[in-house]
């Protein structure tokens, strides 16, 4: 044995060092605080299915986390194999679990899916990337009949595909026997560039494209840039009658003499909100009062939501959120709803993150630190009443030595 002492020592050190590290890592309590939602008033049931994605930051080190009513899950607590499937669990990962073979090779864009009791539909536009410019744009559509577990797929060339620069799927719906796919296309048309929103309808049983309709289009000019956004849907997978698009025109004003160094002045103008009804196949402009239009321009359109029949315009101030519903069916503004909520002004008054689901609005403050707390508010959209009010607190008493910041960037309801 004497002869082997060096090798034995090396092995002993390895077993001790590496072993101790991983055993310690496995059993030691996490050193990050456990955040929980603490009720202040209302019913705790309201936040049971809430999911907040964010990150926990100490100094320059941040770590992603996910907060639910049961507590906090940090990125580092997730096992290697779970991480492979994606750390932040969402609707797509749920679908992958349930329909494993159907979901094979499908992308993670929630807008590309449609689901009801019987069907799961997926649509994508694929293209070849090996040339200098993209080519050979094709629709890849798949429909899963959940009852008999049968999948039908369709692979068709996009009309006028040789003029396309890129195509994005905005929405997928199933209307009777037709699959409706709404896309945003960037088109080259004899030297000019255009942005188009198009509706394609497919007859799935005959595997044919039956309708191809232009909903909106905008030419690009030298001094302006047009962006078309589809309004966030409260439940993008579900069936709905309408889609809403916002058109934002950005103007680049030529710079003054003394401004040359700073580059051209940029001005964003919200030019239009347009709704489109799938059943009636008609397009409408939404007329907004100036006050809302202005607020939308300053706060951006990201936080507005629509649930298929109503658009909810949100405005934020120090006291809370004001929500103005607009009914697409009556084409009318409805009564405002106010949510009182403290917003941490220390960080320049970032607007709260919000979501609308099943007739309720959920809002949470995006930043907090060791001295402040994030608030969560849930309100009923019909009655305008606040049904839950709470704050996000650290379970353990805060350690004095730890300065942290807690950020949230997304809120959704399962």
């Amino acid at each position: 044995m004497r002869k082997y002492w060096k090798a034995a020592l090396v092995i002993a050190v390895i077993v001790f060092g590496v072993g101790a590290y991983y055993v310690n890592a496995a059993i030691s309590a996490p050193q990050k605080p456990e955040f929980v939602i603490k009720k202040q008033s209302g019913d705790e049931k309201e936040v049971q299915s809430i999911v907040l994605d964010g990150s926990y930051q100490v100094g320059f080190h941040g770590e992603p986390l996910q907060l639910t009513s049961t507590g906090t899950r940090y990125d580092s607590e997730v096992s290697f194999f779970d991480r492979l499937n994606g750390f932040q669990k969402n609707k797509i990962t749920e679908l992958e679990k349930e329909y494993r073979s159907f979901m094979r090779g499908k992308n993670g864009d929630i807008n590309a899916y449609f689901e009801d009791n019987q069907y799961l539909v997926y649509a994508d536009v694929e293209y070849k990337r090996n040339d200098l410019k993209p080519s050979d744009f094709r629709f890849k559509i798949a429909v899963l009949d959940k009852q008999d577990d049968k999948a039908t797929s369709l692979n068709l060339s996009v009309p006028n595909e040789s003029n396309l620069d890129w195509v994005m799927i905005e929405d997928v719906q199933k209307k009777n026997d037709q699959i409706v796919v709404m896309t945003q296309n960037h088109v080259r048309d004899s030297g000019n560039r255009k942005v188009e929103v198009r509706e394609y309808r497919f007859d799935i049983s005959n595997k044919k494209l039956v309708e191809n309709k232009k909903i909106m289009s905008q030419e690009e000019s030298e001094n302006t840039q047009t962006d078309i956004y589809m309004m966030n849907e409260s439940s993008p997978l579900e069936k709905h009658e309408n889609v809403v698009f916002a058109k934002v025109v950005t103007e680049f004003k030529p710079a003054n003499q003394d401004q040359v160094a700073e580059g051209p002045e940029v001005e964003e103008i919200l030019s239009d909100y347009i709704s489109y009804n799938y059943d009636r196949k008609e397009k409408n402009h939404i007329k907004l009062p100036e006050s809302i239009k202005k607020a939308v321009e300053t706060d951006g359109i990201d936080s507005n939501m629509f649930n298929g029949t109503k658009v909810y315009f949100m405005r934020f101030n120090e006291k809370g959120i004001t929500i103005t519903p607009y009914s697409l069916n009556n084409r009318r503004i409805e009564d405002e709803i106010s949510l009182s909520m403290q917003i941490n002004n220390k960080y320049g008054g970032m607007p709260p993150i919000t979501t609308i689901r099943d007739g309720k609005v959920y809002a949470a403050s995006p930043i907090s630190d060791q001295n402040t707390k994030s608030n969560i508010v849930v309100a009923d959209l019909k009655s305008g009443k606040t049904v839950f009010k709470g704050e996000i607190i650290s379970k353990e008493p805060t350690q004095t030595n730890r300065e942290y910041e807690l950020y949230f960037h997304q809120l959704y309801v399962k």
């Binding site: 001790f16 100490v58 100094g59 080190h61 499937n85 992958e96 494993r100 094979r104 090779g105």
Partner: protein
């Protein structure tokens, strides 16, 4: 086993010197960097009459990750990585070019010649793990020194995992989970086996062997990345990530088996002394 022990004994001197360098340089780094920070704090607070809070908000508290990111800490690690890379070649060539062409005696031993190959590969693996383990044992010691040096109010205490997590490069050497540890070092072992095979090609056919060795390595790399290329360009992400991982593990196992078999063949039939 005897052979492994023999190889380790031959590496022991260099190994101990390298461990000593890690120990000395890293601890010196901890002491010097902490001292510099404390001196700066003293200077600002007592000479420039800055308040503690103002200093902290301007400079920020010190954490151990400041030390981990410095040359004092990473330098010795880089040195060890270079040493191992060098030793992968040295472990073979010194048997040919050493004082008394030692390879004669190694190849005359009454065991399978492949055992020479295994002994050398095991030695590389063991010394690598030895460095990692030594670093892991050293870290708590260094953080303790750091705590002695920097007063509580100027310090952010991080756990060992946070410290390692603060530097992505370090996460490759010491991954978060044991599964990753196994995967990364498994991949490393496969690479070592490919290089050993290439070296044996060179020893067998000299200049022509260099070419064959390079070609062999290229083929191994291509075999390994083919599933990933197929996945993204032909199959349109057909496999879930976990399935792709399984395929890659199988590919790596195949490459390892090929390397071992080829090396065994070369050692038995072709090696020229």
């Amino acid at each position: 086993m005897k052979l492994v022990n023999f190889e380790i004994n031959r590496f022991a001197k260099l190994f101990t010197v390298l461990l000593g360098i890690i120990l000395l340089v890293q601890i010196a780094g901890v002491i010097i960097l902490s001292k510099m920070y404390v001196n700066l704090a003293n200077e600002k607070i007592y000479e420039d009459m800055m308040s503690k809070a103002a200093f902290l908000s301007r400079r920020g508290p010190m954490s151990f990750s400041d030390i981990v990111g410095s040359v004092w800490f990473l330098g010795p690690i880089a040195l060890c990585i270079a040493a191992i890379a060098f030793y992968i070649f040295f472990i073979w060539y010194r048997d040919w070019f050493g004082k008394n062409t030692f390879i004669y005696r190694l190849l005359m031993l009454p065991t399978a010649r492949l055992n020479v190959f295994f002994a050398k590969a095991t030695t590389i693996l063991l010394t690598t793990f030895g460095f990692v383990a030594f670093q892991l044992i050293l870290l708590p010691i260094e953080t303790t020194i750091f705590k002695w040096m920097v007063p509580n109010e100027f310090r952010v205490d991080l756990g060992i995992q946070d410290i390692i997590g603060s530097l992505p490069e370090l996460l490759v050497i010491i991954p978060n989970s044991f599964v990753e540890f196994f995967l990364y070092y498994g991949a490393g072992f496969v690479i070592v086996s490919i290089m050993f095979t290439a070296i044996l090609f060179e020893r067998s056919y000299r200049w022509k062997g260099v070419l064959i060795g390079v070609l062999y390595s290229l083929v191994a790399v291509v075999v390994f990345i083919i599933p990933m290329i197929l996945q993204s360009f032909v199959l349109n992400e057909f496999f879930y990530p976990i399935e792709l991982l399984a395929i890659e593990v199988v590919m790596a196992a195949i490459i390892l088996a090929c390397s071992i078999w080829t090396s065994g063949y070369l050692l038995k039939k072709k090696v020229t002394v």
